[in-house]
Amino acid sequence: MDALIDLLKHNPLMPRADLARLLGLTVDEVNARVAELERDGVILGYQTVINRDKWNPDTVTAVIEVKITPERDGGFDRIASRIAKFEEVQSCYLMSGGYDLLVLVEADTLRQVASFVAEKLSTIEAVVSTATRFRLKTYKENGAFHHFDTAPERLSVSP
């Protein structure tokens, strides 16, 4: 299972026949295992990593550090899920340290991010403070580099 997940993480488009050959399984077995992982919620989805310099380079990405007052019953979970449901929010994590939630936001314009923070996020009662930081440049995204090194040279035949 570990190897299957690694392969899918790296390339969900890999043909099932190739997965089968690599794992020493039949195609039916691979299909069954993938279905099981999807059903159990181990695999939440499949996404494409986009080079932000080449596609909609003006899209705005921000990370927002949010301090909140936890609730007596729900702790952080209820507030966090309320924030996470906004469609501008790409990811939302509970963090240790100086603030509580780290919220990754993506929007078409700076104004949209500003209005999200000012009108939506800050107005939630439990939110104590926010600190918004904008992305300037991307070097690595989901494990993939934006600017690859040239392939190192190897001898074409060696002992």
């Binding site: 050959r21 190897r154 074409s156 035949v157 060696s158 002992p159």
Partner: protein
């Protein structure tokens, strides 16, 4: 007048791989399965350690035996792998790759005319290294039927009055063969009974698959005192260009090897030693990730080759498969040359690794899966066309 060349050097044949390499170099669009080194770049944290070493100005000589910290890391690594503890101060020498360690080990123990046995097909340097040390190398053939393991009875039958040492290399380049514990114990028993020294080249030992653990001959009780354990970081840690190997053995042998090493090499480059220290102390997770990738590719390549009718046993180690190509009616050399010319895929003829490699070719899977996939398609076409050609010419 030309400068005369020493007889024992002149008599060494040119490596078969070298000729092949020249031809491949002159062609374009070749997919090479002929490469005996990892396709991975050295993990970044190890490269970064080498950069840090340079930044700190660590650019001088080290102790002839190698940096003490690296030797301690080696002692710990070897103990974990084999259960045998070597003293970092007196029983370990850091060499320039395993190749140097093999060379100086042979020079340290052989008198002119002493015989050294080795199993074949094998790495290209064993026979010439013995000859350069004025020894006599004798090959023992291994076969696909035995999954290229060395049989104890074959070893015993090859022992003569001048036999001094046996060289082992499991997992094996070029076959991917391994030996299990019982087989190794049988070999050890013969070596003890005939008072032979063992040189064990363990360069592929981490790259053992199917959840198996490599079993080293040095782990057999009574073998430590007669074994020279040779290993390095090139394959498992993808560090071929760093040139770091090491030898572990009884103090007297390491001292003798050190004499040769100090006058010819002096020491392994210090930044390479710093990188090797980082690899041994913190490199295991990255190494295990590479191993898993090799194992998956192995599955892919073996099932593809068998499907196209080239009988291939599932190798348990290293990163080579050694398919049998006799069903095509071609020799190893013909198969490799024709495949290269017609389909632009480079594999290495089995005969480059000794006579008993005839009927086989070596395909390395230290190559990206995309390349392997195309190579397998091209080989399948080649095999099909070769068979059809034979049928036509027979009719």
């Amino acid at each position: 007048m030309s400068i005369p060349i020493a007889d024992h050097v002149r008599d060494i044949p040119k490596s078969g791989i070298r000729d092949f390499f020249e031809i491949v170099q002159s062609m374009t669009d070749v997919i090479s399965l002929g490469i005996g080194e990892p396709d991975f770049v050295t993990p970044w944290h190890i490269r970064e350690a080498a950069i840090y070493s340079l930044e700190k100005g660590r650019t001088g000589y080290t102790s002839n035996l190698g940096l003490p910290r690296l030797r301690r890391a080696i002692a710990d690594t070897v103990q974990k792998a084999t259960g045998v503890r070597y003293d970092p101060n007196s029983e370990i020498l850091v060499s320039v790759g395993v190749s140097e360690a093999i060379d100086i080990a042979l020079r340290a123990i052989l008198n002119p005319g002493d015989e050294v046995l080795y199993h074949e097909p094998c790495y290209v340097s064993y026979n010439p290294s013995v000859a350069l040390a004025f020894g006599v190398a004798r090959a023992i053939s291994t076969s696909a039927e035995d999954e290229f393991a060395l049989r104890a009875d074959a070893l015993e039958a090859a022992i003569g009055p001048r036999t001094k040492a046996v060289m082992l290399n499991f997992p094996t380049n070029p076959t991917g063969g391994v030996m299990d514990r019982a087989q190794i114990e049988a070999i050890a028993e013969v070596c003890i009974r005939h008072n032979l020294t063992v040189l064990t080249d363990e360069i592929y030992s981490e790259l053992t698959y199917d959840g198996r653990e490599h079993f080293s001959i040095v782990s057999v009780p009574g073998m430590k005192e007669r074994t020279i354990y040779l290993h390095g970081l090139s394959k498992a840690y993808a560090m071929t260009g760093f040139r770091v190997g090491y030898a572990c053995g009884p103090n007297a042998v390491i001292e003798a090897m050190m004499k040769i090493h100090q006058y010819s090499i002096l020491c392994t480059s210090i930044m390479s030693q710093d990188a090797a220290t980082e690899a041994l102390e913190r490199g295991e997770p990255a190494m295990l990730r590479m191993r898993r990738e090799y194992e998956l590719r192995r599955n892919y390549i073996v099932s593809s080759l068998n499907e196209m009718g080239l009988e291939t046993f599932m190798p348990r180690g290293a990163f080579y498969v050694f398919p049998k190509i006799t069903s095509t009616g071609l020799t190893s050399h013909e198969f490799s040359m024709n495949l290269l010319r017609e389909k632009r895929v480079a594999v290495v003829p089995g005969t480059a690794f000794g006579k008993s490699g005839e009927g086989h070719v070596r395909c390395s899977y230290a190559t990206g899966l995309d390349q392997i996939k195309v190579a397998m398609e091209r080989i399948a076409e080649f095999v099909e066309e070769t068979r059809q050609g034979r049928t036509r010419s027979a009719a």
